[in-house]
Amino acid sequence: MIVSDFITHFIAADLRTATPILFAALGELYMERSGIINIGLEGFMLIGALTGSISSYFFNSALLGVIMAALVSGVLGLIYAFFVVTIKANQVATGIAINIFSLGLTTTIYRAFMGVNTSHPNIASFKNISIPLLSKIPIFGQSIFNQTALVYLALMLVPFTYYFLYKTSIGLKIRAAGEYPQATDTAGVNVFQIRYGAIIGGSMLVGVGGAYLSLGLLNMFTENMVAGRGFIALAAVIFGKWNPWGVLGAALFFGFGDALAIRLQVMGSSIPYQFLLMLPYIFTVAVLAGVVGKAFSPTALGIPYNKE
């Protein structure tokens, strides 16, 4: 095998693997910045994956599938927001409840819609789009600029998120709500409203991440198909130090680890693949412990806001 081919395939695999994590992690970033820690990413992604798959099947359009996935995840986000913002339920417990609930719900709904048979139905999915000129660049052209539309969307969301959070007044309000909600409230900003908005918007992104799994990376829904990516996305937010660019780096790094683990196995390497699977988590712990520079989580993260 030619080395440049190997690198091309490797980068392409890295991007494909990183995309669902990136979507979910960016969604989580909005929520965490507003002071909400949503452990239920895995569940939101499953709901997104199922909605995307079923909608695409019935409307025969992958684009509508993704839009529906975003909408349904947004509604779930609204319910979640009602619990953690209005009722002030424990955020971690509510998130775990959503994970468990979603696993059962998606399985049941999928069986009800598609029946329990061995063949998987033909569902409209995203095809690779080759960007003119850019895709001709050696090595990187075919790997980065020949992906599905959702991969480009995920990459474009990174600068957008950065701009939104750091350069707009809504972004400032979101960050303020996550740092000093009391002060924010005093300044005349409705913290409840901001948090509701961040949760609903963030949830929609997480749902799209799930839909990418069932419509971009694969072309089907299977039970529990998210397989832990929601939790990796949680780690990516921490590893990326609550910054969109950092989150991008973390998602790519985790995708890199996955792609490398797969290739090392295929090449018959003697390095145990479990060791490589473990690496992302070790780095996350290292970041939390302050080994790789200091990481500051939003001060009010996980604390429900009580209006005095």
Binding site: M1, D5, F6, H9, A13, R16, T17, P20, V116, T118, S119, H120, L213, L217, L218, N219, M220, T222, E223, N224, M225, A227, G228, D258, A259, I262, R263, Q265, V266, M267, G268, Y273, Q274, L277
Partner: protein, 325 residues
């Protein structure tokens, strides 16, 4: 009110007990299943086997679904007291309790599936020979590969997948030791995306035949195979029903056959309290029809495949000799 409830309870119990008893059938078989019979997998397989036994031996049958671990013992005992001759716990997790209850009812036969335990005189276990299954798949793959690179993708690294993989490697080497065999595990029976990435990476390395052994995640390998130039040899069920264009054949596991074979032993008085291993000889394992690939396989290769199956049946090939370490 209390008395009414008591009377109702007595009636229900009486009906329950009497319905368990039957004066018609000589053979009464009961099963304890860990999950629902509608799961399209493990538990449905056992339910089908039970129905097959009902038909074949005109036996009376009963089963308990979703058996809670805490009730294993009482349900085993209940069936034994109700006069069932053969009681099976579906899965190795029933082993310890079966051992305990079996001592109390020496005339009842206790069976545990997917396990290797036994206890004289009345407790046996059975399982299919994963290594043999892999061996046959290895033989087919080695005969049909054009790139001389074949691969195995397992889900979690647990005894059934480890054994299947070892058998697969042995089967390939048995035909042609120069063929490169790549063995991998995704670490999950659910991660479809990862299985697909794994298969894609293999295609880039020049692998042309893959044996996917990762349960639901097999569908990921199927998708990769449809996109790249890969064929698959299925495990357990006929994968040609999922994707006929890329499925060469599948190695079918017939749980019903394995189970009725054990029941047969009991009826013929050949039953021994040991760990039965079922393979092609008992009909518990078999190759599915080649369907679309029927014509693409040369006569010599087909003859060789059938020869290997016959040799495995007659015991002429001892797989253990070919297994690595």
């Amino acid at each position: 009110m209390k008395r009414l409830m008591l009377i109702t309870l007595i009636i229900v119990i009486t009906i329950g007990v009497f319905s368990l008893y039957s004066w018609g059938a000589d053979l009464k078989i009961a099963m304890l299943l860990p999950g629902p019979i509608s799961d399209q997998g493990w538990n449905m397989m056992a339910h089908n086997a039970l129905k097959a036994a009902e038909k074949e031996f005109s036996a009376e049958i009963a089963y308990t679904e979703r058996t809670p671990v805490s009730d294993f013992e009482e349900i085993f005992r209940g069936y034994a007291q109700a006069g069932f001759n053969i009681i099976m716990g579906h899965g190795f997790q029933f082993g310890d309790v079966a051992k305990k209850v079996a001592q109390e009812f020496p005339k009842t036969i206790f069976i545990v599936s997917s396990s290797d335990i036994s206890q004289a005189p009345n407790l046996a276990s059975f399982r299919t020979m994963d290594a043999q299954a892999g061996f046959i798949q290895g033989v087919v793959a080695a005969l049909l590969t054009e790139t001389n690179k074949v691969a195995y993708i397992g889900g979690m690294e647990i005894p059934p997948t480890i054994n299947q993989n070892r058998g697969f490697r042995a089967g390939v080497k048995y035909i042609n030791p120069s063929i490169e065999v790549i063995s991998t595990f995704t670490g999950s029976f659910y991660d479809v995306a990862k299985a697909k990435e794994m298969a894609k990476a293999m295609a880039q390395k020049g692998v042309d035949i893959i044996v996917p052994d990762a349960d639901v995640a097999n569908l990921g390998v199927v998708e990769a195979a449809e996109e790249e130039d890969i064929k698959i040899i299925g495990c357990s069920t006929d994968m040609a029903e999922v994707s006929p264009d890329i499925t060469i054949t599948s190695l079918l596991e017939d749980f019903s056959k394995a189970f009725t074979t054990v029941v047969d032993y009991v009826l013929e008085g050949k039953f021994e309290s040991r760990a039965y291993e079922m393979g092609v000889q008992e009909g518990a394992l078999d190759l599915a029809p080649f369907r679309k690939y029927e014509e693409k396989v040369s006569k010599e290769d087909m003859a060789k495949i059938n020869q290997v199956l016959d040799d495995l049946k007659s015991g002429k090939i001892d797989i253990a000799k070919y297994l690595e370490d």
